[in-house]
């Protein structure tokens, strides 16, 4: 034969191999001949009548091989289960871990490349009699490499023991890992829409939940074009997806939203209106291209914004005088360039550092924006003192030895002086950056941190650009007016925009701390001015009062900061925002719960997660309320809080034991009473009545 049928022969041999062993069912621990061998495991070898036990199909793909999610995507096949169970025993729906995407030649596959486990809950009837419980299942699945596919199947069996109530119950710890890989139920419903060939999905997800390369895996076929790129927008507490649609037949769908490796949420969605609002979050296919475009645009915006900043009242005086001082050095090209580069370095460094601080604060969860420093009255006060001091300097009240804004025009600045002037310009410019940075800042949310820092640096370069031009294009420099006696007048006039900036900052400070406190702050500001005046007077007489002045300045500024009344209020505000501790709680553990119950104290346990909107809504509306806190305190209720933001196997098991796949869960343990599971939507009344009820019964007990 001239043609090559080796591949086909190998394929057929594989099929034969896969089919043949089914005839002699045996209890093997993994079939080594399979490319994705399966092992059947039980979380517990013993189980009580009426209880359930979790089984796992532990799949271990060989290198380069993969298995499929329940919806395999464009090609491939999901897994099938044909159970042989003793009478009365029922098998639940298989639970698949969060899958990965595998795009080959435009064909999207939803797969597992490494080990994974599919979990199934078996429930025993109440009348199951103690003794062996043989379980067997015939399962089929498709195993593929990037090149070829082999349908595989195996007949797996395991024998469990039915035991009497309270019998030994050792748990297989591997199941904690298996469960952690499952998508967690989101608890709230999403909305989807199909129109003009586009599929849109709006998922309720709090704004502070971190998302890395999100992907939506839909379970139902025929609606989403699997291979189409998925783009995401974030709009407050909603994540909105847009991708290609393939059909429009369904009114409800289910699926898994993956937000990081092995982390995802399962939910259902009903048809409704979905608009693509909010800010784009680049993802997958569009990511590299989209990000490059975004970075390019945002960098351009930042450069332009920085350039425009030079005209702002807080920067223009510094710039113009510095520019003229550069021009006068005309004779020495090298020196001019060195000064300009030092100035640029100062500007870029401070702009990037402010950007880095901003990103750091954002990363730590603080909801801050650009000009975040202006949310803190202390920093406003420092800026105010600084800007006023610069204004006084320009007005001629005093001179500074190192940082030079154009005074001592006959004297040359060192590179260090230029650097500090640049640093100061960038810092003082921040109150004026707001409107200019809005666009670029939006981009820094979407871009990776390095790219975001590049944008902040771009702002600095833009700010320093006029200087670089002056230094490197002598033609421009020669057009600048020659320094002369007029310059002293110009410098004094430049004090006016500086004082305008001061007025702006005073207004901002007043809004934050009130007029009474503002008056006190201004007294400290006057002190600063008087100290500088005194310092300037010394300079005229040739006295050096530098050290004393510095000390007095620091004292005055610190005094001003301490006099700010907003500090306490601000701190308590911050506390309220971060821990929301109107109703204090202890972390949940089953040990602590049984201790508290044994001591006869009533216990309220609640289970929450940062990504759960329902939980957060209940906490804001019912749990973290002073009415609730007072009622609980009066009745001496202990509060336990289980945080399921990260998968915690102990909490997972506890939830499962209470018939819940996810949060929220609210339980009240009245002393000596059966636990009471509360509704998923709480009100203050629900909670306070609980406690008032227990108070009443306690009083009744005492009266007896």
């Amino acid at each position: 034969m001239t043609f090559d049928f080796r591949i086909l022969a190998i394929m057929l041999a594989f099929v034969a191999l896969a089919v043949a062993p089914a005839a002699d069912a045996q209890n093997r621990l993994g079939n080594t001949e399979l490319n994705v061998p399966a092992t059947l495991l039980a979380e517990s070898q013993t189980v009580e009548a009426g209880q359930s036990v979790t089984l796992a199909f532990h799949m271990q793909p060989k290198p380069t091989w993969h298995g499929y999610w329940e919806n395999p995507g464009d090609a491939g096949i999901g897994m099938s289960f044909d159970w042989k169970l003793p009478t009365g025993v029922t098998a639940g729906k298989p639970q698949f871990p969060v899958p990965d995407t595998l795009l080959i030649s435009g064909i999207m596959n939803y797969v597992y490349k490494g080990d994974y486990a599919v979990l199934v809950n078996l429930t025993l009837p109440k009348d199951a009699r103690p003794g062996p419980l043989p379980i067997s299942v015939k399962s089929e699945w498709l195993s593929c490499t990037d090149e070829i596919c082999v349908p595989e199947q195996d007949e797996l069996s395991i024998t469990l023991q039915v035991v009497a109530k309270g019998g030994a119950n050792r748990l297989d710890e591997r199941f904690d890992g298996f469960r952690a890989a499952l998508p967690r139920p989101l608890g709230s419903e999403a909305r989807f829409a199909v129109s003009d060939g586009l599929f849109r999905l709006s998922v309720p997800l709090p704004a502070n939940v971190d998302i890395d390369k999100p992907y939506f895996f839909i379970k139902e076929d025929g609606l989403v074009d699997y291979g189409a790129p998925q783009t995401f927008n974030r709009d407050g507490d909603r994540l909105i997806l847009e991708t290609g649609a393939r059909g429009d037949e369904l009114d409800t769908i289910t699926g898994v939203l993956k937000i990081a490796d092995h982390t995802g949420f399962s939910f259902s969605a009903t048809k409704g209106e979905v608009a693509m609002t909010g800010l784009p979050l680049a993802s997958d296919g569009a990511k590299s291209e989209g990000n490059a475009t975004l970075l390019f645009l945002a960098l351009g915006g930042a450069l332009l914004g920085g350039l425009l900043l030079n005209l702002m009242p807080c920067v223009f005086p510094i710039l113009s005088l510095k520019a003229i001082s550069l021009a006068k050095a005309g004779g020495n090209e090298a020196e001019v360039r060195r000064d300009a580069l030092a100035y640029t370095a100062g500007v870029v460094l401070v702009a990037t550092a402010l950007g880095a601080i901003l990103l750091g604060l954002r990363a730590s969860g603080a909801a801050v924006g650009w000009a975040f420093q202006l949310q803190d009255p202390r920093i406003i006060f420092v800026l105010l003192a600084l800007v006023t001091a610069i204004g006084l300097n320009l007005a001629g009240l005093f001179e500074l030895p190192n940082v030079n804004f154009g005074n001592k025009l006959t004297q040359r600045d060192g590179a260090a002086g230029s650097f500090w002037t640049g640093a100061l310009a960038a810092f003082v410019a921040t109150p004026c950056t707001g409107p200019f940075m809005a666009a670029a800042l939006g981009a820094t949310i979407v871009l990776p941190p390095i790219a975001a820092l590049v944008i902040f640096a771009g702002l600095g370069v833009g700010l320093a650009l006029p200087f670089l031009l002056l230094a490197f294009v002598p033609a421009i420099r020669s057009r600048l007016p020659k320094p002369g006696p007029w310059l002293d007048g110009f410098r004094k006039a430049m004090a006016i925009p500086m004082f305008l900036t001061s007025i702006g900052l005073i207004w901002l400070l007043g809004r934050q701390i009130g007029t009474d406190a503002l008056g006190l702050s201004l007294v400290f500001l006057l002190t600063v001015a008087l100290i500088l005046w005194w310092f300037g007077g010394g300079q005229m007489k040739g006295l050096s009062r530098g050290a004393l002045t510095s000390a007095a300045m620091v004292a005055a500024v610190i005094g001003g900061i301490f006099a700010l009344p907003g500090e306490d209020a601000m701190n308590s505000q911050k506390l309220a925002n971060t821990s929301a501790a109107t109703l204090p709680s202890e972390p949940f553990s089953e040990t602590r719960l049984s201790e508290l119950r044994a001591s006869g104290q009533p216990v309220f346990a609640y289970f929450t997660a940062d990504w759960c909107i329902t939980c957060k809504a209940n906490e804001a509306a019912a749990i973290q309320r002073s009415e609730t806190a007072e009622a609980f305190e009066a009745a001496d209720v202990a509060v336990l809080m289980g945080d399921w933001t990260r998968p915690d196997p102990a909490i997972s098991r506890f939830l499962e034991k209470h018939g819940r796949a996810g949060v929220p869960l609210y339980i009240y343990y009245g002393p000596g009473k059966e636990p009471m599971i509360l509704p998923q939507i709480l009100t203050v009344a629900t909670l306070t009545e609980l406690v008032n009820g227990s108070l009443q019964s306690a009083m009744v007990d005492q009266s007896l």
């Binding site: 043609f3 591949i7 800010l279």
Partner: protein
């Protein structure tokens, strides 16, 4: 400045729209015409068959799901039945060189002979152009085009997505079902279904 950001957003949307989506054909629209070379080097054009029902079948001899339908004789029987009703059956191989299922003309001729394949023509689409135009994702993946060139069915060969030949007996053959309904003038009850099988082994 603020507008800059919305401009950026639009740019991203444009970038993602520019990425080619799987360009599937829609039922009820005129199907994309194409020209391909068959095993004998003959050029076959879809539009030359206007007036006749045309069935497209995506094929990969190395795929176990294709093997299920050929080793059992199910695909050949379907081909025969369709052609007896006057339909044209085009079997298309979009497997790229070096990928599973790719064949030379001689290899394909021998396969046709050995498996007694009953299609009208066996076509090569090595570059995957036709496969991608039709959004063919699996082998097998079936399409039916009526005498007016309108796409009336796309999807799987039947409703039992397994590799087990024993399932063929209980399965509904969607191609034969659609042909029967077309003949009696009924609307096609299942005009779209989920194709199942291996992914088409495109070049890129």
């Amino acid at each position: 400045m603020r507008n800059l950001f919305s401009v950026t957003g639009t740019m991203i949307a444009a970038v993602s729209l520019a990425t080619p989506l799987a360009a599937a054909q829609k039922n009820g629209t005129i199907s994309q015409d194409f020209k391909l070379t068959d095993v004998n080097g003959k050029t076959v054009q879809l539009s030359q068959f206007r007036g006749k029902t045309v069935i497209l079948e995506w094929h990969n001899p190395g795929c176990p799901f294709v093997a299920k339908h050929y080793n059992s004789g199910n695909m050949q029987a379907t081909q025969k039945a369709a052609r007896q009703q006057g339909a044209i059956w085009l079997t298309i191989n979009s497997g790229a060189k070096g990928k599973q299922g790719h064949m030379t003309g001689a290899e394909a001729t021998a396969l046709i002979d050995r498996q007694d394949i009953q299609s009208s023509n066996y076509l090569f689409d090595t570059k995957g152009v036709v496969g991608k135009a039709y959004g063919a994702r699996t082998t097998p993946h079936m399409y039916i085009i009526d005498g007016e060139g309108i796409l009336v069915y796309q999807g799987g060969i039947d409703d039992k997505p397994t590799a087990n030949p024993a399932d063929i007996k209980q399965a509904r053959n969607h191609v034969l079902g659609a042909l029967k309904e077309m003949k009696s003038g009924d609307t096609i009850s299942i005009a779209q279904s989920r194709p199942y099988g291996c992914s088409v082994k495109y070049a890129s």
